[in-house]
């Protein structure tokens, strides 16, 4: 997201960049090292109906926040892997919370009952909560589902981005970005890759 990185890409793309292209309403995600914003905001969990915040789940080894939803083909493609990673690393001291910031008025499938159904079908053992104003997603600068933010044990953003490099077929995955980052954070090291991107559904903000 840095200006330098953008200029470099433009330069590579066109040979000479006289001025960077303008953008409409582009807001960036949290920067590396930033703490989780709105960490005390209580959100209703489809796991057990209780109210839970990011601070409530924060783990000794780190904290993983994933913005996701039910309807998006990308979120669906990754949902089994997200659930497996969440369940596995929760046992390794990482606090895990999945957040649905989508407006169910736009996608009824993203409603609470569907979230509860997803918790059951996936055997999810970590909170899957509703960001009922979408303000938590806004504060993170999240824009796509799924989008992961992994904080280290001192609460600093250590990894931001996608799950891996193949949403569709787990057998074809070459780069396990999030799993590698989780492994690093659990042992107190910075992830080798701290920022990735994947094509996904835009978050349907309220």
């Amino acid at each position: 997201m840095s200006f330098a990185a953008f200029t470099l890409v433009t330069t590579l793309a066109v040979g000479s960049a006289s001025s960077p292209a303008s953008a409409s309403a582009a807001t960036g995600p949290l920067s590396a090292g930033a703490p989780a914003p709105l960490a005390s905001t209580k959100m209703k969990s489809a796991l057990d109906g209780k109210l839970v915040s990011i601070a409530d789940v924060a783990g000794k080894a780190g904290t993983l926040v994933i913005f996701t939803c039910n309807h998006c083909p990308f979120a669906r493609g990754w949902e089994r892997r997200i659930a497996d990673l969440g369940n596995a690393y929760a046992k390794k001291g990482v606090g895990v919370i999945l957040i649905n910031a989508n407006d169910p008025a736009k996608y009824p499938e993203d409603g609470f009952a569907e979230m509860q159904a997803r918790v059951k079908s996936l055997g999810l053992q970590v909170p899957y909560v509703v960001d009922e104003t979408s303000n938590v997603a806004r504060a993170f600068g999240a824009s796509v589902t799924p989008e992961a933010f992994l904080f280290d044990k001192s609460g600093k953003l250590a990894y931001h981005g996608t799950i891996d490099d193949n949403h569709k077929d787990p057998a074809q995955v070459g780069k396990r970005y999030l799993k590698d980052a989780l492994e690093a954070v659990v042992v107190g090291k910075p992830p080798a890759v701290a920022e990735t991107k994947g094509i996904g559904c835009g978050i349907k903000f309220r």
Binding site: T10, A13, A17, A23, A25, Y107, K197, I199
Partner: protein, 185 residues
């Protein structure tokens, strides 16, 4: 609704293929674009290929509601400026097996001359190659001048009015080029 339809079609592969083939024929008849697979290099080549006064790239998907909703605005803009040399490059992020659905959607657009593709290759290279500011969320649109220089980026849906505004800005006194000069002296 779109997801339900997709599931229904996926559950009936024979029917889906049959319909897809029929739609492909209809697509060709209407001279609407047929979606070929394309990676970043192919899309960049379309952007830089000579002969366009401006290039609008839109990345979309059949299952993406805001993408489908904005498409009439994009097509209206394209039709208005097509004769002036505006090139429209539509890149679908659908899975390649949904090619029939992509073709069917494109055929209905009546956007003859538009260049359509289905994205292949690494996501991150594709995203950052188009614009490092893009998060990867759909839809996304990118406006280039006739030299292939990116001039504006829209994360999220665009409107006809916004497209017109940015094109006029490019052509205006503040612009470094005058992409619509031939059409609108």
């Amino acid at each position: 609704m779109a997801v339900v339809l997709a599931v229904a079609l996926a559950a009936l592969p024979g029917v889906a293929i049959g319909r897809g083939a029929a739609r492909q024929t209809a697509t060709n008849r209407a001279r609407a674009p047929g979606p070929r697979s394309a990676d970043l290099a192919t899309v960049m080549a379309e952007i830089r290929a000579p002969g366009a006064s401006a290039v609008l790239v839109n990345v979309w998907a059949t299952w993406c509601d805001p993408c489908r909703e904005e498409m009439p605005e994009i097509v209206r803009f394209y039709r208005r400026h097509r004769a002036d040399g505006l090139r429209l490059v539509l890149v679908s992020a659908d899975d390649p097996e949904r090619r029939p659905e992509v073709a069917r959607f494109l055929a209905k657009l009546r956007a003859a001359g538009a260049r359509a593709f289905i994205k292949t290759g690494d996501d991150m290279a594709f995203i950052n190659g188009l614009d490092a500011r893009w998060s990867g969320a759909l839809p996304a649109s990118f406006l280039y001048d006739g030299h292939g220089l990116e001039r504006h980026f829209w994360p999220g849906p665009v409107t006809y009015r916004e497209l017109e505004g940015r094109l006029a800005e490019m052509a205006g006194p503040g612009g470094t080029t005058n992409p619509m000069a031939k059409g609108h002296p």
